[in-house]
């Protein structure tokens, strides 16, 4: 009886501590994440006024526009396509790089990881401007080409430049999770596979890759998500020649005259939906792996 009372008192105190610890974070999330999200969701069903003001009339028109007008549909497909491409290239570059680093003696490993992280010391925009200098018509590469007597190449303001910038910016986010997965991987298993008759290639597909899949999945999500919403790289390196989702959303909110917040909100919501589906697939894949 007395014990029960003590136990209840202890539980009550634990709950109070928990609440005290969780409240600041919860408030932050509600105020700066959930609330804006709800606002955007509401906007996306409203009508745009003639001067870019919001008329509080419910409509599905924004979403209908989104899925029927080719400018928006194309931006969608283009964004998904370049994100897939960026993710795949980052994976193809990042996996071997992570594997190489993990196989070095510990002293070198730290140094090499450090090198992977060094770009983060400089602001992303500054680094993208640096790529402009490298790729420009009178930039470093073309300078080198002309001094060799070769004709100049158009590098800047192409979709190739966009892809290059994206891969450059996102590669560390692929390398780090894969490195972490490989670091936990017991390489004796590769010897065991070889011992049982597996060539290096088959041992990779059958043992190393499945066992490091959580790292691959995490890296892919980390690369894919920011890439699908990006607008800076395609504007600064791609020359804003083609529209990606991010560019359209940015323009609808800030640049078009009049602005169209409801349509921009609908685009943002639709983008989130795609990401949500992808993240669900990712969680399914990784939990499957751990079971």
């Amino acid at each position: 009886m007395a014990l029960n009372a003590l136990e209840r008192e202890r539980q009550r105190r634990e709950r109070r501590t928990l609440a005290a610890l969780l409240t600041p974070g919860l408030l932050w999330l509600i105020l700066f994440f959930a609330l804006p999200l709800v606002i955007i969701l509401v906007y996306s069903f409203m009508t745009n006024g003639p001067r870019g003001n919001i008329l509080w009339q419910f409509t599905l028109g924004n979403y209908i526009d989104l899925f029927t007008r080719s400018i928006y549909v194309n931006a969608y497909l283009r964004s998904i396509w370049i994100s897939v491409l960026t993710t795949v290239i980052c994976l193809l570059l990042g996996y071997p790089l992570a594997l190489f680093i993990v196989r070095q003696p510990p002293r070198w490993r730290t140094a090499l990881l450090f090198l992977v992280l060094i770009p983060f010391w400089t602001n992303f925009l500054v680094r993208i401007y640096a790529w402009q200098i490298i790729l420009a018509n009178n930039g470093l590469i073309n300078g080198a080409l002309s001094s060799l007597g070769l004709p100049p190449l158009t590098l800047l303001n192409t979709e190739g430049a966009t892809l290059l910038g994206l891969v450059y910016g996102e590669l560390p986010f692929m390398v780090l999770p894969i490195y972490a997965a490989l670091d936990r991987f017991d390489f004796t298993l590769m010897e065991a596979a070889a011992d049982l008759g597996a060539s290096k290639r088959r041992a990779f597909w059958r043992v190393m890759l499945p066992m490091t899949m959580p790292g691959v999945a995490a890296g892919s999500v980390l690369v894919f998500i920011p890439t699908i919403g990006q607008f800076v790289v395609s504007e600064l390196l791609g020359g804003a020649k083609v529209d990606y989702l991010g560019n359209l959303i940015q323009r609808l909110f800030l640049r078009s005259n009049p602005p169209n917040w409801p349509l921009g909100s609908a685009m943002a919501m639709a983008m989130m939906l795609v990401l949500l589906v992808l993240i669900l697939i990712y969680f399914r894949a990784t939990t499957e792996e751990e079971r």
Binding site: D186, G197, V207, M211
Partner: protein, 367 residues
């Protein structure tokens, strides 16, 4: 009729940087033999095994398996399989998938694989565990999965790298016997790496004792224990007493040493010794006898007056440490063949005694 050897190593050297981990090792391992590589950690036994498996390549020398030179053959094309020290089971695969791995790599038909996996799991008494993951098994069960995964491929040679090292003492003893009888049944050549001398003595047909990259002696367990050819082997295998001195006379199979304090002791020489060479007289504790003073009989290599210092009764034996007159100690183990509580039947500390040893039981060994 000449029998082919399962594995031959010819003058194999493996260098890591400046260090020779394996230093001019030559071995001939017969077909169907249970052969052990025994030595302390860092003696090169595991490196030798890894070279036979193909995980390391010799710096020089050659490795031949059933008459085929292995120098350019990668591990996945060698007719050998390995049981790893940590088992190296694939954690993402079930027990059955682990065991099936080798056959899958050989692209055997699906129904053949299923049947052989079932058979292999039966052989190691794990039939009910086919769908478990390795981490859901005990250490002993994991060890048996590793064994089944290797043996299902019917290798010409099975390599075992301290496969019992991670198990507790009792399980180890059980598995030693199980492994030995399994080897008899399947008739596959086993090369077994261990640092546990008792394990090697129990299981092996022949043992190679290694130290610092070199093979010091190859022989049957009896040969290794009864006729070690050097001081290291006598010391590493079992217990022994050493009395240091210098060879003063040598015959065909025996020699005499003289200690610094003038004792002259005679013993058998498993390997010829030079007059003048520093040597030790090696006597196993169970091979010496302690007699009451005045009880000394003829026909012993020596009879030394001693004083009993320590007596430890351990059930099957009584272990007695005696002090020689020159402040040297010497261990004698007496088997307790009489069942008695009579105090006089056991030695007491402080008692005078005579230490004697039959001539064949003392060995004269050099470094």
């Amino acid at each position: 009729m000449s029998t082919t050897n399962a594995v031959e190593l010819h003058d194999v050297v493996k260098r890591f940087g400046d260090i020779a981990a394996v230093d001019h090792v030559s071995l001939e391992i017969g077909d169907g033999e249970f052969f052990s590589l025994l030595g302390p950690s860092g003696c090169g036994k595991t490196t030798t095994l890894r070279m036979i498996a193909g995980f390391e390549y010799p710096s020089s020398g050659s490795i031949v398996i059933h008459g085929r030179e292995m120098a350019t053959i990668p591990p996945h094309r060698r007719p050998v399989n390995t049981v790893f020290q940590s088992y190296a089971l694939f954690p993402h695969l079930t027990v059955a998938q682990n065991v099936a791995f080798g056959l899958e790599m050989k692209r055997r038909p699906k129904d053949e694989i299923a049947a052989r996996v079932r058979e292999a799991l039966e052989q190691v008494r794990l039939s009910g565990f086919a769908d478990r993951r390795p981490r859901q098994l005990s250490g002993g069960q994991q060890q048996r999965v590793a064994l089944a995964r290797a043996l299902i491929n019917q290798p010409e040679v099975l390599l075992l790298d301290e496969p019992l090292g991670a198990l507790d003492q009792k399980l180890r003893k059980e598995l030693q016997i199980e492994l030995k009888s399994l080897q008899r049944r399947v008739g596959i050549t086993f090369i077994f790496v261990t640092h546990d001398q008792e394990e090697a003595l129990t299981m092996s047909d022949r043992i190679a004792v290694m130290s610092q990259g070199k093979v010091l002696q190859i022989g049957s367990p009896t040969e290794i224990y009864e006729r070690p050819t050097c001081r290291f082997v006598a010391d590493f295998i079992g217990e022994t007493n050493f009395i240091a001195g210098k060879v003063i006379e040598n015959g065909a199979n025996a020699a005499t040493i003289e200690t610094s304090d003038g004792l002259r002791l005679r013993g058998v020489t498993p390997r010829p010794v030079r007059v003048g060479a520093p040597a030790v007289l090696s006597i196993r504790p169970e091979k010496a006898l302690l007699l009451a003073p005045g009880d000394a009989r003829a026909g012993h290599a020596f009879a030394l007056p001693v004083r009993v210092e320590l007596v430890s009764y351990i059930g099957s034996d009584t272990r007695i440490t005696v002090r020689l007159n020159d402040q040297r100690t010497f261990d004698v183990w007496e088997q307790n063949t009489l069942s008695t509580l009579d105090r006089d039947a056991y030695w007491q500390p402080g008692e005078p005694a005579v230490l004697v040893c039959p001539p064949d039981n003392a060995l004269v060994l050099t470094e």
